[in-house]
């Protein structure tokens, strides 16, 4: 029988191993989770001037992820009109940032991801045979100058540069030829038809023309953005390709090889993962917004809800969330060094929560001092609410009287709401109005008319976040108008001003 027993032991070990494998597979398979959208193709409207790098990156993306990238080329302006007339497609990559504002005004685009930068330079034939060293040399009789047409980006930037020199009239008069595209100006320099021309640095470097450094050209830069179209039915897929274009180890290498200055900062991940620390009290207000954000962005968002004291403890223990949404400003003081500036998102007033019908007839803060009343308050040491309550009662000269009536102190406001809700041992609790969203119908809220009865919730982005753009968009989503309604429904006042519509250029 002995071999049989040993055999049994083997069976036991193997069976438990098999069970583990099956369970792990079940976890990975996960029937309940929504299947992630896998786009088969995306349509990108791309400015013809940056065709080369974008096409190369698109091919690499197709190879790597099997997503077909359909590129449509044209001038930035005509592509924009095309999108306006026929709102389809996913991404718009204009040749420079001048097109962002009109596209936003017409509500054609949403997220913007900066891809690369290039500058306006003065280019001359290799070796600078005519010895052109500054703006003044362009005014020389023997120097033939070429510039771009003012309907194009290059033409506009050149005109702006002329204006900055203060010699616009003279310069304009000396121009030998005006060409419709950058490449034609560059070609003219190469064949010697002109001696100097204002073109993009990327083109000049590619054609191996000599660049004349100009103090006046310092700010004459343009940025290539990737803009997600409002009309896109697969924003997550569009954003994914945009992030690929902007990833330092992916698209940015190609832009750099093509002499553009790369602007992308976020490392590539098919599904980037960012972490949000949020005070538990804020959850009801942001949960829906977060779900929509994750859906739209196609990212993984790790959310840690907890009491803000615990969250601060976690951060002091070395955690670095990408975004932190605190319960009250007081919970940011200890971790300010981890975050960029905090912005106030919402506030919630402190209120007195009583039973339906207000049987004890509590109307003002002074009523809390009435002998025999059973009051619940938050702990002064453990919670911001407790400290704020103390400050409020002291300001109202009621602290001692109310302390005598205090039947229970709890570490957090939600405890108090549940304690009032579940037991008959309390008459009134002082909590945030935002704690009361679920008991609105079964309890009664008595407002406190005092300027100190208020908590303010700030949001901030982690200094060391690997995904500053995604984190910024997350914060914007929390500050958006859609979010405002959810905050207000949950008993918060929304502090963030509605972003003003971009002013229409005259």
């Amino acid at each position: 029988m002995r071999p049989g027993f040993v055999h049994n032991a083997l069976v036991l070990v193997l069976a438990s191993l098999a069970a583990v494998v099956i369970l792990v597979l079940l976890l990975i398979w996960n029937p309940v989770a929504s299947s992630t959208e896998k786009a088969e193709s995306i349509t990108v409207y791309c400015a013809a001037g940056i065709r080369k790098p974008v096409e190369e990156i698109a091919k690499a993306y197709e190879r790597e992820y099997g997503v077909q990238v359909q590129l449509q080329y044209g001038s930035s302006g005509s592509l924009l009109s095309q999108i306006e007339v026929n709102p389809t497609g996913d991404l718009y990559i204009p040749g420079d940032d001048d097109f962002i504002t009109p596209a936003r005004q017409k509500n054609l685009v949403r997220e913007m991801i900066p891809l690369a930068r290039f500058s306006l330079v003065l280019a001359v034939a290799p070796g600078n045979p005519k010895n052109i060293n500054g703006i003044d040399d362009l005014l020389r009789e023997d120097v033939k100058l070429g510039i771009g047409n003012e309907t194009t980006a290059i033409g506009r930037k050149t005109a702006a540069l002329f204006a900055r020199t203060g010699k616009a009239e003279a310069l304009r008069a000396t121009v030998k030829v005006v060409k419709p595209t950058v490449t034609e100006i560059a070609a003219d320099i190469q064949v010697g038809a002109i001696d100097a021309g204002f073109i993009w640095d990327a083109v000049a470097k590619e054609r191996q023309l000599t660049i004349v450094p100009l103090a006046e050209a310092a700010d004459a830069e343009a940025m290539i953005p990737a803009l997600v179209l409002t009309s896109s039915k697969q924003p997550a897929a569009a954003l994914r390709f945009a992030r690929y274009l902007a990833a330092p180890e992916k698209g940015q290498q190609v832009f750099a090889a093509n002499h553009y200055e790369p602007l992308g900062v976020e490392p590539w991940a098919e599904r980037p993962s960012i972490t949000l620390f949020s005070g538990g009290v804020n959850r009801v207000a942001i949960e829906q917004t977060l779900a929509q954000f994750v859906e739209r962005e196609g990212i993984d968002l790790n959310v840690v809800y907890n009491g803000c004291g615990t969250l601060v403890g976690m951060m002091k223990a070395g955690q670095k969330p990408d975004v932190y949404f605190a319960c009250d400003v007081s919970f940011t003081h200890d971790v300010l060094n981890l975050f960029n500036a905090f912005e106030d998102v919402s506030s919630t007033p402190m209120v007195m929560l009583v039973r339906k019908g207000n049987p004890e007839n509590i109307r003002t803060l002074a009523d809390l001092a009435r002998p025999g009343l059973r009051v619940g308050r938050a702990d002064e040491q453990l919670s911001a609410l407790g400290a704020l309550t103390k400050r409020l009662l002291e300001a109202a000269n009621l602290y001692d009287a109310v302390s005598a009536n205090t039947r229970v102190t709890s570490p957090t406001a939600d405890f108090l709401v549940n304690q009032l809700n579940a037991s008959g041992q309390l008459d009134v609790v002082i909590v945030y109005e935002a704690n009361c969203s679920y008991v609105r119908d079964s309890m009664e809220i008595v407002p406190i008319d005092h300027p100190l009865a208020l908590a303010v919730q700030p949001i901030g982005m982690g200094r060391e976040t690997r995904y500053p753009l995604i984190a910024t968009r997350l914060i914007e989503a929390v500050q958006s108008d859609t979010s405002r309604q959810r905050f207000e429904a949950a008993g918060f006042s929304f502090l963030h001003p509605a972003r003003p519509a971009e002013t229409v250029a005259p």
Partner: protein
């Protein structure tokens, strides 16, 4: 139970006054009442919860059953159930894998520093849950843990690891007691009959430990099902990813949604009772067959 064993009667001197065996009824009534009181308390507590879910005394209104079922049918809740069940089962298997050797070694062998090891094994039980979660987080900031941190922290494996840290400590205690209670004699006989230590263990000791292992498993499973303190910190509370049932309960409580929190808790109780009863039936049946 009422008979006196022959051995005992032989050793006791016959009393001058004839011994009268009285009724056993008071004994059983007494024990029954004490035991029944506790059982009743548990049942009443759950009944009160259930009542509170369907009826809100503050406004004297009935909660529509539709609302309760709609809440439980939400995909987030279903995922939490799914994740809870699988992670707890995985945790249980891992705990048994680890607890069996530790329990055996601690029970059968004396070695230097055993007292210290014994104390260390209790740490997960005494450590406050929040501190345990925080400690795991801190641990994963150091190599070699840091290298896999991206795949563990705030991801599903962190749920299992957090559960495991606590559940395994309970399983170790149980397994150790189990081995303590198994007489080493049969094992020694097996060894003298030519079994190797591993043969003796698998052939003689382990089969006898089946009941103990079953208890350890149910304890570990139940303990992990209720775990949420370390999970909330170490795994976060990301819906559809690391949210388990107790996390849901905690978050609903924080939002002041008493009805929702209680409904999910009751669901948890029902699920736990089903699984534990099935496991016991299955485990004991196999024991009998053997």
């Amino acid at each position: 139970m009422t008979q006196v064993s022959p051995v005992e009667s032989a050793t006791v001197e016959a009393p001058t006054v004839p011994h009268r065996v009285g009724s056993d009824r008071p004994f059983y009534i007494c024990f029954g009442v004490i035991g029944g009181f506790y059982v009743l308390l548990i049942v009443l507590m759950l009944a009160a919860d259930a009542w509170r879910v369907v009826y809100d005394p503050n406004i004297a209104t009935w909660t529509s059953p539709h609302a309760v079922f709609a809440a439980l049918a939400a995909p987030e809740i279903q995922y939490a159930i799914w994740l809870s069940m699988i992670s707890c089962t995985l945790t249980t298997i891992f705990s048994l894998w680890v607890a069996t050797p530790i329990g055996y070694l601690m029970s059968r062998h004396e070695f230097r520093g055993k007292v210290i090891v014994d104390a260390i094994l209790d740490i997960p039980i005494v450590l406050p849950p929040l501190v345990l979660g925080l400690s795991l987080l801190i641990l994963f900031q150091f190599a070699p843990f840091r290298w896999i941190s991206d795949y563990v922290v705030y991801e599903v494996p962190s749920v299992i690891l957090a559960q495991f840290m606590v559940a395994c400590a309970f399983a170790v205690r149980t397994m150790r007691t189990t081995f303590d209670q198994i007489s080493p004699r049969q094992e020694q006989v097996a060894l003298t009959l030519g079994c190797s230590q591993s043969q003796a263990f698998f052939a003689v000791v382990l089969p006898q430990a089946r009941r103990g292992a079953m208890t350890a498993a149910t304890l570990a499973w139940a303990r992990s099902l209720g775990e949420f303190g370390p999970i909330l910190i170490f795994a976060g509370s990301t819906r559809m990813r690391t949210e388990v049932l107790p996390t849901t309960v905690f978050l609903e409580m924080q939002a002041g949604n008493l009805t929702g929190a209680l409904a999910v808790s009751l669901l948890m109780v029902v699920a736990a009772v089903i699984v534990l009863v099935l496991a016991r039936l299955f485990g004991l049946r196999k024991a009998v067959v053997r």
